[in-house]
Amino acid sequence: MKKPHLPAALRALAMIKPKQRLTAQYLLSLLIAVTLAFLVGAGIMLLCGYDPIVCYTALFKGALGKPRAFGNTLAKTATLCLTGLAMSIAAKAGIFNVGGEGQLYFGGLAAAVVGARLIGAPAWVIIACALLAAVLAGGLYAWVPGVLKVKLKVDEVVTTILLNSAAIYFCSYLANGPLKTAEKGISSGTDSIAASFSPLIRLSNLNGSIFVAGVAALLIWYLMTRSTAGFEMKITGTNPRFAKCGGIRADRLMIWGMVLSGMLCGLVGMTEVFGIHKRFITNLSAGYYFDGMLVAMIMRYQPFGVIVMSFFFAVLTIGGSAMELSAGISSEVILIVQAVIIFFMAAEGGIRQSFSAWAARRRVRREAAL
């Protein structure tokens, strides 16, 4: 696993931040936090002897400057957005999915196996079948901890974290053993797939899967914010006991939240296989799900906010590596900026409280003066 220290830290973050509504005030403080984070980042650059203006210019140019760079940023956005929404929908129903990586690997593997077997079928059939297989595999792998949580009260954070390793190593075994390709030059991977998403911008990672991701994101957004089921999930997520008492099938919704989350992760695995690698490889994900979790938590599991924040994080990530090349500064600085943003978000509640208290005092004073 890439970032073993992350889940615990994220869990802690979730404890600090109660689930709250996304308000204009919150967005404002978010903006302040982002600005402050950039300033702190600039300070660090100065300390290291770099010119922050040059660095930040390189960052934004590297993320948005060329069509190819922009394509990469969009592709990254799609991944972050799907994983972020996966986290959000489970959290909405009151269950915490930390096992997205495992679900992603199983989804990717299922898609690769289906994609490699259906030689000769029309491309769209192959893609549709692989999509179905990936979503089913991811969903099924998430269903297990969901049922364990609801029926046996086993903490889902523990089971999902453990199932991550199980999935990653099991898939790795398959790709190195029974399913290992006979092709030369591939050390650990499955047979290459018979059809794939075509790239949309030459040399970039952007491909047809962005449309699939878009549709999925739209569906999840609709489900979470507009549908009756989303309403029932919110009630379940905020107070499962009340939901049950009020006649909502809370247990079932929790499992569904987990399964939908796993399905989205499976989909991400499939897009990685069909969009980029053209086969299943053993290091399919570089902790994509944990990045998505981060985005989801910062935006308090609000689907629209997750979509917007995903783009911002994609810019930071893609621009960060470009900056490393062109300005000669380490991309770790961007990791610091990201960390600082999270830090300011965690303090956001306190900042806002003192701000509104100050505003209220002023208002009363003004009224008293009249």
């Binding site: 905020t238 107070n239 008492c245 208290a357 209220a360």
Partner: protein
Amino acid sequence: MAGSPIARFSHVSVRYPNALANDDVTLDILKGEAFALVGENGAGKTTLMNVLYGLVKPTLGKVTIQGQAITSRHDPMRAMAMGVGMVHQHFMLVPGFTVAQNIALGSEPRKNLIFYDMKKINAEVLALGKRFGLPVNPTDTVGELSVGLQQRVEILKALHRGVDILVLDEPTAVLSPAECDDLFQVLRGIVRDKDMTVILITHKLHEVMQFSDRVGVMKQGKLAGIVRTQDTDEKRLAAMMVGREVLFDELRTGAPTDREVLRLEGLKALDDRGLPAVKGVDLTVRAGEIVGVCGVEGNGQTELCECIMGMRPQTGGTVTLSGRDVSRLSPREIRGMGVSFIPSDRLRTGLSAEATVMENMLVGKQKLPEFRKFGVQLRKKHAVDYAKRLSEAFDVRSGGVDLPMKSLSGGNMQKAVIAREFSFDTPVLIINQPTRGVDIGAIEFIHEKILEKRAAGCAILLVSADLDELFRLSDRLVTLYEGRLTGQFANGTIGKQEISYYMTGGRQEADA
């Protein structure tokens, strides 16, 4: 006995984003008096005392404690140093610590500068309890104590800091009548013998009469008046609080039909710790009848209600609804058969604090065609309109139905729960503690609504810790003691004094 002012509020205002919680309050609390602060829910009593204790900063105005003005950096630590202690409605104790450890928390005595001196603090706490007439066992673990004893620990915690002013926020909400009497006796003793000042926040007027020297009445953030307790009575105080006369007359009883709707036979259930809580209850409720369950809290009332609703598994017996056995059904199915439920603990079971008022009111109706289109989508506009209508009909005062439930005061939350449950128009109502933590004006309103339901032919099972409430509303009274029914009476055939024998199991042995 009462002397010079010990705490002075002058022109204190507290503004929250959506409301003015305190509006230009000027009040002197005198040294060595028992002062009661009364008012409806959301009248600003707790806010005002939180200012004194440093939990809330006044937006305007000046507060002085023992002649010393509070600063903008006033907080509970400073408040305690200035001699103010407060016992909150929700206890702030560490459940895993012993009584003594909790009391010493923050001021632990040390041995040789390093070691926690457990012996010394145990002895101190024992002596402290004796001195104030609040005996405790210092080595008990707090989490295992009853609520009444936990409260005692809270009070001792404040006294241990050597406070001169002790504020208690609705201390009797969790106590049985006997415990209440004890508490007030102790508090009066503290005021009389130790020359301390005790401020009691409450909305129960008989407590005011029993306890206080002076009363301050708060209404919508303003101080509506201060009177000497001996110059007033409950009726006049109620009028000051609500702004009109509140008449708690005997309410007419209904005309129950012979149609039996709800039937419990040998019902048994366990409590959360896995011990038997309901030990074989037989009971019937007929259409158009209110059956009141009397009992000291913790004798199986809550478990009984949850069992009927399918929230708690039964370990024996049956529940029959209009002739159908519903013993093994889920809450959803039982609701589908026409039962509504007002649970005793609204924040835990009755609503979602994070969800909006609208969402809370919609629960249970979200699948009706009125609120759902194409079979999947929520009709938000209809739901908002509906919540507004319901809020108006049940006098739920919120800053808007789109605000989270937790922004409402306790009484308004309860009215929202009642509004939702009563709007289902079911033939059966299970009501547990309908007016807990609710002020007088709202109690009157809720009682009227319950009677309307009875007039409409509802079969109602009413559980309450408030005997007055049960006697006022019920057609039939039953007493529950340690999970068993110990008596059944038609209302009017038994007095409150006598029924309390049955509530405490006193007559059980005599009858047997």
